[in-house]
């Protein structure tokens, strides 16, 4: 019987690094490192070990793994900063304001969530009416379109909230350019103008913005529950947890603003789930009154919540050897379908998935 995610070394450590570190056996440290690596959280774990000065608890022969993870994360950080600078050069030359989203935004606004985080693609937001111009400016600076298949082109441009993914010719880095935070086909339709109203300019970079902390939290919650990639699910919860903790530091117990904002942007359901799993998994300190309030506003009915709990917690379990089960595969598959369903109505979704499936066979 594979252990449940709640008892996993990784969750125990992330919840309370100081107390758990003192209690972990050498075998558990090894398991912790494996689970953290599998969930893309090894450098975050290393960051926590360093912050709380826990290295003396780590068995000596495992320490090089943490040291390595730290080097990976600092080189990753260097390249993200460099990449952001290149994007900034391309877009500011064409006078196109843009907002960084997710990881790159945490870095440039120095949110705690960036510490030890690994970054893949960079995501940016530009205004819908400037999308074409932005694409031109980026292509001029060496980015190119990776999906040249006409169906993919149409899929991204018509149904999704972004340009087809761009890649830089020389550096091979990926860039996603969005014009809204959810696809226009999704049921929830957050008003992007309201998000632009509250963006914050990055110091020393006129024209480059990040979302307000509130919107960052909502976007992070949305991302977790609208994306199909649940192997990264736990990493997303860790992001959300870090953002919420910062929010709590900045606002004390005055969380009502977050709730109102979620309602304004039609993202209450995402926030509900985000808070639910952040609290459940990482014991994120969220005021009791807030969770009660959001539950009355946006709690899904019993059975669907029950299913979500079952599947999500299963899908997020870091699957090392021997723990990969058919149930896990099924849970991830259902969540993948669900994420697509949330983004597109059935009449679009079914032909899309069919086409994808047939193309894979070829």
């Amino acid at each position: 019987m594979p252990e449940s995610i709640m008892q996993s070394c990784l969750i125990r450590f992330l919840r309370d690094p100081q107390h758990s570190a003192a209690k972990l056996s050498p075998g558990e440290w090894q398991m912790l490192i494996r689970q953290a690596r599998r969930s893309n959280l090894l450098s975050r774990m290393t960051h926590l070990v360093e912050t709380y000065d826990l290295l003396s608890f780590v068995p000596e022969h495992l320490q090089p793994h943490l040291y390595s993870a730290q080097l990976v994360s600092s080189s990753n950080l260097r390249s993200v900063k460099w990449e952001v600078l290149q994007i900034y050069t391309a877009l500011s030359e064409a006078d196109i304001p843009f907002a960084l989203l997710k990881g790159a935004a945490y870095v440039m606004s120095e949110r705690d969530a960036f510490q030890g985080r690994l970054f893949g693609d960079i995501d940016i937001l530009v205004r819908d009416e400037q999308l074409k111009e932005a694409e031109k400016a980026l292509i001029k600076h060496g980015w190119f379109c990776t999906k040249i298949d006409p169906y993919d082109q149409k899929y991204y441009r018509t149904w999704m909230h972004e340009l087809p993914p761009l890649k830089h010719l020389k550096r091979q880095t990926d860039l996603d350019v969005h014009h809204t935070i959810l696809p226009p086909t999704a049921a929830a339709k957050p008003d992007i103008n309201k998000i632009w109203e509250q963006v914050i300019e990055v110091k020393d970079y006129p024209g480059m913005y990040v979302l307000s902390l509130q919107d960052m939290i909502l976007h992070s919650a949305t991302h977790l529950f609208h994306e199909g990639d649940f192997e990264q699910g736990l990493r997303d919860v860790v992001d959300l947890d870090a953002l919420l903790r910062e929010y709590s530091l900045e606002n004390g117990r005055a969380w009502a603003g977050l709730l109102t904002r979620a309602e304004t942007l039609q993202l209450s359901r995402s926030l509900y789930y985000g808070l639910r799993y952040a609290r459940m998994l990482l014991k994120t300190p969220v005021p009791e009154a807030l969770t009660r309030e959001i539950a009355t506003q946006a709690e899904p009915f019993g059975f669907s919540r029950y299913l979500m709990d079952k599947m999500l917690l299963k899908a997020m379990m870091p699957s090392c050897i021997g723990q990969r089960t058919h149930l896990l595969g099924l849970a991830r598959f259902i969540l993948f379908i669900r994420s697509h369903y949330l983004r597109m109505p059935m009449r679009l979704l079914i032909p899309h998935l069919l086409r994808k499936a047939l193309r894979q066979e070829k």
Binding site: P26, Q30, R37, P59, H65, S68, L71, V72, I321, Q323
Partner: protein, 302 residues
């Protein structure tokens, strides 16, 4: 305890269940597999390696069939590192080569306490010689030739340059010989050198593994001082040529041949320059192993 001390049937069973914990250079690798080739090749090539406690493991590796169908029809093998699958499946005949390639991948991506340089490393009289090499340069052939005549094998595939001590950490493993070099080494080597049966039609052509000498494996914990960098180039004909190479040029080529230079950043720069300060650098063109053996012997004795 040595791997060779486990009876074949027990080895098979242990591989299928909790796996075995092999000490390979500075790492402990937990390998589990139900594929018949793996157990067989392990006994042939890893008999002299020690087994370790399970809590010391660095990399958990499994080699399995991707599905039940693939066990019988055009059998395939899949490599997984802690449940992560970095490669596409390969025909099962190549499962052991896949273990070797996969382990290279694990080290190159996870052991940044070293600058990992794509090269063979051998040692004589306490002096390590590094042969960086692009595929086809003949570094493995040269390495196998020297090792078969008593040089110590540190690695056929990667120099682990410790960024802390500046020494090369040994990771002696079977030497992978490709295509014509299989016969070249067989005819050059002494009789006590074991070269396994070649596997044909891999991405690299035919591949056969030569067992690492027992004495090299026994000295796995003994780091070596780098003394020379030699870029080999195998030629079909012509005489042997050993030409000095500038340190600047060598630096650039080594940086390019490193798997993790970009991750180590300035640490890699310092480690490489410190190493080059104490090394002589050359380009070597050779077309037979006897000449190369003599020339490199002289270089070390000088």
């Amino acid at each position: 305890m040595l791997l060779s001390s486990i009876p074949p049937r027990k080895l098979k069973q242990q591989l299928a269940e909790e796996g075995i914990n092999l000490k390979i250079g500075p790492f402990v690798v937990n390998l589990s597999s139900t594929l018949p080739k793996v157990a067989e090749n392990l006994s042939d090539l890893y008999g002299a390696y020690t087994l370790e406690d399970s809590h010391r493991v660095d990399f958990h590796i499994a080699l399995q069939s991707p599905s039940i169908i693939r066990r019988w029809i055009r059998p395939q093998a899949i490599f997984s590192f802690d449940g992560y699958l970095p490669f596409k499946p390969l025909p099962q005949t190549q499962s052991f080569a896949m273990f070797e390639w996969g382990l290279n991948w694990c080290v190159a991506n996870n052991a940044h306490q070293y600058l990992v340089i794509h090269s063979a490393v051998v040692e004589k009289n306490g002096k390590a010689v590094i042969f960086p090499g692009t595929p086809g340069s003949g570094k493995s052939t040269l390495c196998a030739g020297l090792v078969s005549q008593g040089w110590r094998l540190l690695s056929d595939e990667m120099a682990l340059l410790s960024t802390e001590t500046g020494l090369i950490t040994p990771i002696p493993r079977p030497i992978s010989l490709k295509n014509e070099s299989i016969d070249i080494v067989r005819s050059f080597a002494n009789d006590d050198i074991f070269v396994g049966k070649p596997v044909h039609d891999t991405a690299k052509g035919s591949v056969a593994h030569m067992r690492a000498p027992m004495s090299s494996v026994a000295r796995s914990d003994e780091a070596a001082v780098p003394a020379a960098i030699v870029f080999p180039k195998y030629r079909k004909d012509g005489s042997i040529e050993l030409l000095p190479l500038s340190k600047g040029r060598t630096f650039l080529e080594l940086a390019e041949n490193s798997f993790n230079y970009h991750i180590l950043g300035s640490t890699a720069f310092s480690a490489l320059t410190a190493m080059l300060d104490q090394c002589e650098c050359f380009r070597l063109s050779y077309h037979n192993l006897d000449d190369a053996y003599a020339t490199l012997g002289n270089l070390i004795d000088a």
